[in-house]
Each structure stands twice: as structure tokens, then as C-alpha cells.
Symmetry: C2
Subunit: 414 residues, 2 copies
């Protein structure tokens, strides 16, 4: 048999990319661990590691009290910007190559009323501000990641059929930002990037989930899910996967903003819950909420959680019913998808542990015993950081993909 073509750039890229990915996922690692995990010869690993170090993508670290060097990503060899755009707030973060937030800035937006150009120009000025504060040169940014509350055509970087921001439909977000920056720009649905943050930094970062499948459910004004399979975002045929907020509750007639009736979001989203809290306060069904209303407090998730903690029966009932609605839909998805883990985030988690318990109970009582045998349902611990960190991770996954690591090496060494 003839030999493999050694000058084939595909092979070189793939091998360098494979080694780099193992170090990203599992590092810091000793050289022998890389040999074991790749199945490559020691000399091959050593040559690639030297090359990755010489271009500055890896660095050595000697653990306390040890003699041998471990290898890790050279986290300060470059930076990425993570952008999280919500319906009423914009956050932009500067992150290192391990997606740790170095600095961040943000402010209010009104996605329904403001034009995409206006909002994106604000993104640009925030990013420039962060670059300046950190004293970064023009080539320090490896990429920009952008999460926004709409289905996204990922390959083109454009939002598609956004439910509440009509001016953004097919607006070329990625190419608009690419005109300003020389680095690549990646745009995805906000819940997808939040799932990446859970995978690398949050509730799913245990090794078992990194390679398994899990759902990140954001329950706030809107309700959506990010689906991760074998460590990668599953986007579906049209980028619409995970759009669980418009799953119908059978027989429910509540009108949704989307025009359909009985959508989960219309029945159990933040807006529906606030309306129920208002009605309970005004209808004298909840002493706690009635007093809160008199005091001029917002009747939101936190208020319901406080009322429930005080033993207010209507607050307890509203918290439990919000969890039960969400859990009923998730129970169906658990039967279908059989994930290892569901991470709940978003404003409704402010309803407290009772809410999570109610979600859990609905899932356990309505899914098959096998599908729930080892299922874990837990609250995200990333709080507000999930979306910007996740947007940064989106960039790192792309820039450091198998193929791109080879290209990056050639680009840096040219």
C-alpha cells in the first residue's frame, strides 16, 4: 500500500485540530494523556504540540509541587467578544480564549421599536470601548459571537421570522458587523449560546454531559430551549429547533402573540404570570400580593417567590402552576428526546426552588420511568453571564474547529 499524503493540509489541520480540541476540553493535560486520548504516536503529538506552542495557541503550566509540564490553551493569546441581545437589554463582554469574562458593558434597548442599525451601532461602540479599556491591538480579536432572541439562519448569520422584532427579519447582522471588524462574526439564537455556556462553564460541564445530550430551558417572558447533542448545538432544518414556547397546551384557548392559541409561552411565560399576579392582588385572593401592590412593588417572579416563602396560598399556587405547565410540556419532550439533564434558566427561576420542584414533579409523573431514571433537572448557576459567555464560546468552537486550527496556525506563522 502507498503511504498517506503527508503534505495534505487536510490531514495536518485535522490532527492539529484534534490535539487542540482535546486540550481545550480536558486541559491542562500531560503529553502522555494527549497520546492516550488521541491514539497518535508520541513523536506526532510532540511535534504538533511544539508547533501549537510556537504559534502561541498553547502554553505550559507546571502544577504546584510537580515537575512535569502540563499543556493548556494560551488563554491570553487572543480575545473574543460575546454579545447578548435581549428584548430590553444589550450586554457585550470581552472574553479570553477560555471564554472567561475580562470586562463587560451593557445598557437598555427596545428591540421592538429600535432599528437593527441603531442597536448594532451600539454593539460596535460597546465593543470598541472594551478593546480600548483593555488596550488591545487591531488583530487581538479572534471573533465576535452574537446571541439574539429569534430563530437564526446560522450559516448566513441572519435572524429569521423573529416573533417580536419584525424589523430584524433577515437583517444581515453578521455582515453588518463584519464591515466594522476584520474578525469573523457568528450569530445564533440566544438560547443556543446559553446552552454552550452551560456545557463549558455551568451545570452541564461535568464530563458526562459534555458528550451526552441535554437541554437548556430559558423560562422568562419568552420560553425556549437550546438542544445539545454530543457536545454540539442541534439547530434543526431551519434553525428553529428548541422553539418550545409555541408548543400548544391541548385544549387551552389563551391567545398568544404569535396568533395561535394555548402556546406554552402565552400560558406560563413571564407576562402570563404577571397578569395572574395582578388579578390575584386586585381580586383579594392574595393578601401578600395585594399589600405589595399597595406598596407599589412590581408583581413579578421575585414578588411571587417572596409571597410563597411567607406562606401566601395564592402565591404558592401560582408558583406551582407555572412549574406544572412548563413541566407538562417538558415531560413530552423527555419521552421523545431522553436527555441526561435539563438546566432551567431565565427570569422564572426567580420563583425559587419551589418552581424547579414543581417542574421536576410534573416531568417525573408524566414521563416514562426509563426516560426519567437518571434524569437531572436543575437550575442554572450562571445567572446573567450565560448569554455573553455562551456567545464567546460559539466563536471559540468555530475558530478552534478541527479544520480552522490548521488554518489559524498557517495564518499566524505566515
Amino acid at each position: 500500500m502507498t503511504e498517506l499524503d503527508l503534505d495534505d493540509p487536510v490531514n495536518v489541520s485535522t490532527t492539529a485540530g484534534r490535539i487542540f480540541k482535546i486540550i481545550r476540553d480536558h486541559g491542562p493535560l500531560y503529553g502522555k494523556d494527549i497520546v492516550r486520548r488521541t491514539g497518535l504516536a508520541k513523536s506526532t503529538v510532540s511535534a504538533y504540540v511544539d508547533r501549537l506552542m510556537s504559534v502561541g495557541l498553547l502554553r505550559e503550566e507546571i502544577p504546584d509541587g510537580m515537575k512535569r509540564r502540563k499543556l493548556k490553551v494560551a488563554e491570553s493569546a487572543g480575545y473574543v467578544v460575546g454579545v447578548a441581545l435581549g428584548q430590553s437589554h444589550l450586554s457585550v463582554a470581552l472574553c479570553d480564549l477560555e471564554a472567561e469574562i475580562i470586562d463587560s458593558v451593557g445598557g437598555p434597548v427596545d428591540l421592538v421599536r429600535e432599528s437593527p442599525e441603531k442597536v448594532l451601532n451600539r454593539v460596535i461602540s460597546y465593543a470598541r470601548e472594551l478593546e480600548q479599556r483593555a488596550g488591545l491591538g487591531p488583530s487581538a480579536l479572534f471573533g465576535i459571537g452574537f446571541g439574539l432572541p429569534s430563530p437564526v439562519d446560522y450559516s448566513h448569520g441572519v435572524p429569521v421570522n423573529p416573533p417580536v422584532m419584525p424589523g430584524w427579519d433577515r437583517f444581515p447582522v453578521a455582515s453588518f458587523l463584519s464591515q466594522e471588524f476584520t474578525c469573523p462574526v457568528f450569530v445564533d439564537n440566544d438560547v443556543n449560546v446559553m446552552a454552550l455556556a452551560e456545557r463549558d462553564k455551568g451545570a452541564a460541564s461535568d464530563l458526562a454531559y459534555r458528550k451526552g445530550s441535554f437541554l437548556l430551558v430559558k423560562a422568562g417572558t419568552g420560553i425556549g430551549a437550546g438542544i445539545v447533542i454530543n457536545g454540539e448545538i442541534y439547530r434543526g432544518a431551519k434553525g428553529a429547533a428548541g422553539d418550545i414556547g409555541h408548543i400548544g397546551i391541548d385544549g387551552d384557548g389563551t391567545l398568544c402573540r404569535c396568533g395561535n392559541t394555548g402556546c406554552l409561552e402565552a400560558v406560563a411565560g413571564g407576562r402570563a404570570l404577571a397578569a395572574r399576579a395582578q388579578a390575584a392582588a386586585r381580586g383579594d385572593r392574595s393578601p401578600y400580593l395585594a399589600e405589595a401592590l399597595v406598596r407599589g412593588e412590581a408583581l413579578d417572579a421575585e414578588a411571587l417567590a417572596r409571597g410563597a416563602a411567607c406562606g401566601d396560598e395564592e402565591c404558592l399556587r401560582l408558583v406551582a402552576s407555572a412549574g406544572a405547565y412548563l413541566g407538562t410540556v417538558l415531560a413530552k419532550l423527555v419521552n421523545f428526546f431522553n436527555p441526561s439533564l435539563i438546566v432551567i434558566s431565565g427570569g422564572l427561576t426567580n420563583l425559587g426552588e419551589r418552581f424547579i420542584a414543581s417542574v421536576r414533579e410534573s416531568i417525573y409523573s408524566r414521563s416514562t420511568p426509563l426516560a426519567t431514571a437518571d434524569l437531572i433537572v436543575k437550575k442554572s448557576t450562571l445567572a446573567g453571564r450565560g448569554a455573553t459567555m455562551g456567545a464567546a464560546i460559539l466563536v471559540l468552537d468555530e475558530v478552534f474547529s478541527h479544520r480552522n486550527v490548521g488554518m489559524l496556525m498557517r495564518k499566524i506563522s505566515d
Copy 2:
């Protein structure tokens, strides 16, 4: 940089496996097409192709009127056995290396009453009968694939928590058969293997779906789904993925055999439909069914389809409502999973095109416009062959996986 380790068996296996897979998926192919699709050097491709031909896994074919040879899988270089076990019927097929059925045999079983040993001994005698008829030698079988109506722990080859066949729970199906045959045995859920048949030979065999995601929905006495993502079966954390028959219809109190209420299978499965047809016949709501009952005909899906074709209003209503129940659940899964294609198979497809139209209508009216934009919902055309062919494909996917092709080459050439 040092060179790649050429004697590394992992690299050799991977390259041979990659070339073989491209020919399996897209063949017959010219050598230049393989070069284009792999990105490998022409000399490398040529050397591996020669080796794969010398061990008998590939053969040449010269298309009519053409001069240049194309390469394809040497379909008669070996055989696989596909076993499809249903609740009341066992089918065993002998297939070539392209999963075409050469010969098959089958007969009735009673999974609830018969012991696993008894049923599996029948599988063995059927397989031996097929070997004998084809005059196969002891090493001709590359493997045995087995699809059965239960969630399966795929890595161990054992059914887990089977809903209607308690004696099969954790019975070591794969190792029982391995004691009789020297080839490997692979066991999976029946709907999963049916999905593989659709991928390679049926409604999903268009290139677009082979690499996309689709669902195979079997709607019969039981209702289940096989999930294919990027050409591969998605099994979930416990092998329970796709168990859609026990998804609850909100607010429905129909008792299911699983002990829960309102399960899709209990409301829209073959048994529920037959009960409704009986009631309609006896309650004088359907002249067609009442006459069929008098004639002693079975009141099954075919009878309902005939009644609907004659314009019997109750038959039309029952057909439409079965489709609507299934479609309502699928609409939720379409929002979540955003597949490109849903293929419907199983006994309920005997309800005819009206049934499929009703499923489709429920999905389109209740899913988001984006998720249904390019969604295709169609009936399987594989009829009874899907399960045995799919079980054969399960074996071929495993035996011809990247890593195994290299091992197979070494084994054959030793």
C-alpha cells in the same frame, strides 16, 4: 514538524473506512469522485481502493456504454441476517452487503406469553434455514441485526423496561445469539432500525435527508418514533428516545396499559381505533361498519379506510380524528426538533391518504411557520420490509464503521 506516523493502524483504518463509507453512501463512483469527496491525494485513494478490492470488499462495475470503471460495494462478498420481532410476528431475512433481501422466512409469535429462549431459538432455526437454502459457508455471515419492540440498552444488546413483554426485561438477547453464531450481533429498538431502512432505501434516501434529521413514526398497535440526526440514530441517555406513544394528551383521562392516562398510544393507537370502530358498528353510527360486523369482517384500519372511501361519515370522522391526535403530538415535536422530514409507517397507514392528510394538517396548523416551512410528511413505501432491512443495515453500519473496515481488512487478509 515531524511527519505523521504512517504505521499507525488508527490512521490506516480511518482512511480505508472513510473511502469505503463514501462508496457505500454514494456509489457506484469513479475514482476521481472519491478523490474529490475525500480531499485525499489520488495515489492514496488508488492504493486504498486496490487494497479494498484485493480483500473483496469492493468491486468494479463498468456502466453501459462507458469505458471507465466505477467502484461499488462487492454486495455478495458476505451476508447479514436481519431479524424483526413484533408483538405477534417474527421475520428473519438474509440480506447482501447492500441490505437487499435475498431470502426471508417468518411466522407468528406471542411475545407476551412465549419465553425469550423459545422465541430466540426460533430465530436461530430460521437463520440456519436461510443459510442452508443459500448454501452459505460458516464464515459468510458478517453479522446479525435484531429489532424488537422495546427500549434497548444498545451497548449491551438487552431490552430494558419493555412495556408489554415482562419476561424480556434485561434478557441478554445479543449474547444468547452470540453463543450460536460466531459473527457479531446488534440489538436495537424496532423503530430505530426501521428509520435506518428509510434512510438508505426508503423515503429519506434522498441525499438531503441522509445528512439531515428526520423522524420515522410507526403508528400501529403501539406508536413510536426513530430519530435520525446527520444520518445516525439518536438513542438518548437510556435508549428511550422516540418513545412518543406514551406522550400525554393534556386533559385526556383514557387509561393506558402503562398505568398512566391520556397516552397517545391509548388514545390513537390501533387498539383504541378498533374499539371505536366496534362501538360505531354496534351503536348504529356507521352503516358501513355495522354491515362489515354482520359480514364477520375485522373492524381494523383497512375496514375504516374502505368505509371512508365509500363516504361513510363515521369512518371519515374516525380516520380524521386518529390523524389529528397523532398530528397534534407531532406538531409539538416539530417545534422542538425542527426535522426536514417525517415518514409515517405502521398499520395505521392502512387508513389511507386521508389519514396522512389529517396528520399533516394538524402539524401545519399547530407548529410554527418556520418549522414547517420545508417540512415534508409522507408515508413509508417500504411496507413490511422496513424492519428486517433496517436490522441488516444496523449490522452493516457497525461492521463497516470507520474503525472496523480497517480491522476487517486485516482479518480477511490474514
